[in-house]
Amino acid sequence: MIYRDEINQSINKYHQYSDKSIQNSELCRSTEENLDQCLVGLVGIFHPVTLVVLDILDVEFSDDQFSDLCFEFGLELDEVTTEKQMITNEQGAEQSAGASEDIVYRIEIPANRYDLLCLEGLVLGLLVFQGKLSPPRYKAVTPEKGSVQKLIVTPATKLIRPYAVAAVLRNITFNQDSYKSFIDLQDKLHQNICRKRSLVAIGTHDLDTVVGPFTYDAKPPSDIKFQALNQDKEYTATELMDLYSTHAQLKQYLHIIKDSPVYPIIYDKNGVVLSMPPIINGNHSRITLNTRNVFIECTALDLTKAKIVLDTLICMFSQYCIDKYTAECCEVLLPDGTVTRYPELAYREEVVNIQKTNTYIGISEPADKIAKLLTKMCLKSEVANSEDQVIVEVPPSRHDVIHACDIYEDVAVSYGYNNIKKTIPKTATIGAQFPLNKLSDQLREQIAQAGFTEVLTFSLCSRDDIATKLGRNINDIPAVHISNPKTLEFQVARTTLVPGLLKTLAANKKMPLPMKLFEVSDVVIRDETAEVGARNERRGCALNCNRTPGFEIIHGLLDRLMQLLEIPRSSNKDMTGYYLQAVDDPAYFPQRCAEVVANGQVIGIMGVLHPDVIMKFELTHPVACLEINIEPFV
């Protein structure tokens, strides 16, 4: 099972809306470096968050204590380092001169916890977890009538990116760190939930530089002209796409709109361009450290995700507003006339049954205790009147909670996984082997006892391996083809075990002769009658390599296998028993090749490999080879 989390590819060092100085001080490391778990097939993919946390948490921690706290909370403390050290590791010592030597904690965050992606959210989460703070209450307020900001969506956006949401952070005060964190969070959301801006793109603007109402439109690129962020003059959208085609970061987003006849574009009342989502913002409305009022717009293909992104930004950064944890509503006017107010900042009530919760986890806690455990996880809860229920308020910062089972998990995390009593399920079942695997293992044992050594080769290979190198044309082979291989070695699923064994021979030329190798494993064959259009077939393959081919040795193995499978030799070549039948096959030497027929069915082939095959696999000695389908014998 398991093993993939929402993956965030590399965390990009650039942000659409960031200025140069911020890019340079970004510290996030590519998550790909954290993928070593893949090895286990257990991919926990996380966003690294850099954290200068000690003073914020207001307590003296040892590194170990902090690591334990994180572990309990479900986070992994990746390393304790310094900014200087991190830059040195990534860019070399010469780049790190002058960087801070303050201690930095690097923490990995589960990919669905958008609320922990920035320092603000993480610290809040930990403080609430420790019981030092109660969960904040987020709210959206409507300004006086007439002064609400409006975003008008035109019908043309349907052609490219139909959804938009917006909100205002009023009277905010950034400092260097929070400003950087604001930019950083947008970048992480872009990489993760926004799927590299394809699903959602965020634009943040200095509201005081523009005048509403705003219009979200879609126009032909040649009709769009503005001064983009960090550019010193105006370009048309066509020119910008050209300009950015070599841009280290932006080029990866161009494909999202490149071939569309119209590009998304947001204007203010006076025709000033705020942004051209999902590529770039306008320079005019750029935010700075001194920005006091932030206009946030998100354009999207997926409205749910746009709302999550907007809520997350508001929840994390409204704490810097004069009116803490509060955002100002914007109205989004759709072409059909509907008006929707954002941000939703919706609180949802889930009522969970205490007995069900306890049973799910395997604990027996009273209702009030469970309410407390949940409140620690930022899910404010109270015991319902009926006493056997807890009413849980899911805040807009916890969009990951979509079912009661998410609440059960938070109870379990809060209780501590390692405090849960170990029990053995009473499930009484009788074990059984999959018959094909059982037969395979019995045959493997026997073939090894017959003096052959087992090899283990890849199921994927190149087209040449199964075709050209065996004297065949790939078009004649019912192979399963892979559409997106990264290298030639993964073009097709193997249709025969022979190439893998020959490659193993080639890599082991220093072993003494004779070499006797075998493999019992699956090949994959295209088959229209199969549910997915292809099926596995379990094969047994063995070869002998020596100064002479040793056809008789391979033949002896076949006879032995048939004896073990109680298939008699058929002297009159009829429907019972097995026999050999001469055949021509391009992979085998003429007159040295035979089909194996068992109970009237061709189950495989054996013979002396053709010298061309030997040469193509970079071998020097003759090889006799046998490959049969073992499935008829299950």
Partner: protein, 494 residues
């Protein structure tokens, strides 16, 4: 003939108590090498005789040395050939053999002198009387009194190729523990004839050399990783699990992702991570009402879930791929289970899965996934933890730690860490969790039925167990067959 000689030698030893082979050879008038050969065979016959190697060195004159003894040294000859009035150097050089050596030695001994007369060098005697020490010394050596010549002088003559040092190896023989004057050749092996005739009772047998290695048995071998797989299968079977039919590498996105409530925009469904199939590109056969329930739970929710709130597309679900986990098969098994009257089950599988990874020392595009799951009424997270302790105990691991984690189809999810007593640290060994209701309920499983499951890779524990750093040393065509030959039996609990 040689047995005659052996007995002769033994007689000598019997008479003399101890004797050198060189003396024996002279005495018996046999070549020394031959005597040595016989001694070796006597030695092999048990403790008949004791044999002690002797090394002796002696000085012998070379042919040139012998000439010196006969005629005098080269310098003597040069000196002697010079008349009282002197002689032209060229004349003397022609007249005397080895005159060049003789001349320079006579010069350095101060016997002669060279003067120039009208440009031609003339040699004359410098002293009236000389003593030919070289010849005297060589005569002493020839007369077996080499000790009267100093080592320094001998070395000097050796350098002049007048002398050579000869090393002779011989053996000093004595009586052994089982000394006898006749040899009975010891037998090397017990034979069928000896048993039949009873002759083994009278025979001596040559002892075995127990310090040598035996002959390596003729054999085949099972592959290292698959021996570990056998052990894992055994563990699951001991615990009452049934093996799932995982012999289907090609899977539809529907069973691999959608059935597991993994949303269609999930990054794992990206071509960067998953091998998609161009031929056969799409699957078309799905259970249609189940498909509809899956669509609904993704896009609209239901079964107590909010859903993901996006437009679910059949096209995305149809895409064929190489399965990224065997959980695709688990989903099929659970679906089948839900189609009949419910009964609890325990399933396991160990088979290949595929990831479109960038390859390195620890990552391959395909690896073996070990997966276990239990489906029953009201299973708890505590049941999962308890089961995992039992499972890992069978792998020789008793200290576990569980960390909250995230996975789209399990909730709660736990990463499994174990304490590695060799490495003295906690290492991640697997993932586990309780399958989400959004996955189970659309299949039609009863509401109180839970599924607890866990998974790990087969390669990683194997690499840790055998101390391998590169996965290519374990899997694939480049594996060293010698490693497979030498690999011990797999006992995970040890």
């Amino acid at each position: 003939m040689s047995s005659d000689l052996s007995e002769k030698i033994l007689e000598y030893v019997d008479q003399l108590g101890s004797v050198d082979t060189l003396d024996l050879a002279k005495h018996m008038q046999v070549d020394h090498q031959k005597v040595v050969g016989i001694v070796k065979s006597l030695q092999a016959a048990g403790d008949l005789i004791t044999v002690e190697q002797q090394v002796s060195k002696r000085w012998e004159l070379t042919d040139e040395g012998k000439t010196v003894v006969d005629k005098g040294s080269h310098e003597f000859l040069v000196y002697s050939a010079i008349p009282a009035e002197g002689i032209a150097q060229s004349a003397i050089m022609q007249a005397i053999p080895n005159a060049r050596v003789g001349f320079s030695k006579a010069m350095s001994s101060g016997w002669i002198t060279v003067t120039k007369n009208a440009g031609e060098p003339i040699v004359a005697r410098k002293v009236d009387d000389i003593k030919d020490t070289v010849r005297d010394h060589l005569q002493l050596i020839l007369a077996k009194s080499p000790d009267e010549v100093t080592d320094e002088q001998k070395q000097e003559y050796k350098k002049r190729k007048l002398l050579q040092e000869v090393v002779t190896k011989s053996f000093l023989l004595g009586k052994g523990k089982n000394f006898a004057t006749s040899v009975e050749k010891p037998e090397t092996e017990l034979t069928q004839e000896m048993i039949a005739s009873g002759s083994w009772k009278e025979k001596n047998f040559k002892p075995y050399n127990l310090d040598s290695l035996g002959i390596s048995p003729e054999r085949g071998h099972l592959h290292t990783l698959l021996k570990v797989r056998d052990q894992f299968r055994q563990i699951f079977l001991e615990m009452g699990f049934s093996e799932m039919p995982t012999n289907n590498f090609v899977e539809s996105s529907f069973w691999n992702f959608d059935a597991l409530f993994q949303p269609q925009q999930h990054p794992a469904r990206d071509a960067h991570d998953t091998f998609f199939i161009s031929e056969p590109k799409l699957s078309t056969k799905f259970p249609s009402d189940y498909l509809e329930r899956v669509r609904r739970v993704h896009s609209e929710g239901g079964y107590g879930s909010q859903g993901y709130g996006y437009e679910w597309k059949i096209k995305e679900a149809q895409k064929n791929l190489l399965r990224t986990h065997t959980t695709a098969v688990s989903a099929r098994m659970l679906y089948q289970l839900a189609q009949k009257e419910f009964h609890p089950a325990k399933y396991f599988s160990i088979d290949r899965v595929f990831r479109n990874e960038t390859l390195d020392a620890t990552h391959l595009a395909e690896f073996y996934q070990v997966e276990g799951l239990i489906v029953d009424h009201n299973l708890t997270l505590g049941d999962l933890i308890g089961t995992l302790y039992e499972f890992f105990k069978k792998l020789g691991i008793s200290q576990l730690n569980f960390k909250p984690a995230y996975n789209p189809y399990t909730e709660p999810s736990m990463e499994i860490f174990c304490y590695h007593t060799g490495l003295h640290k906690w290492i991640e060994v697997g993932n586990s969790g309780v399958f989400r209701p959004e996955m189970l309920l659309p299949m039609g499983l009863p509401e109180d039925v839970n599924v607890i499951a866990w998974g790990l890779s087969l390669e990683r524990p194997t690499m840790i167990k055998y101390g391998l750093n590169n996965i290519r040393d374990l899997v694939g065509p480049r594996v060293n067959i010698q490693m497979v030959h030498d690999n011990p039996i797999c006992r995970l609990e040890k």
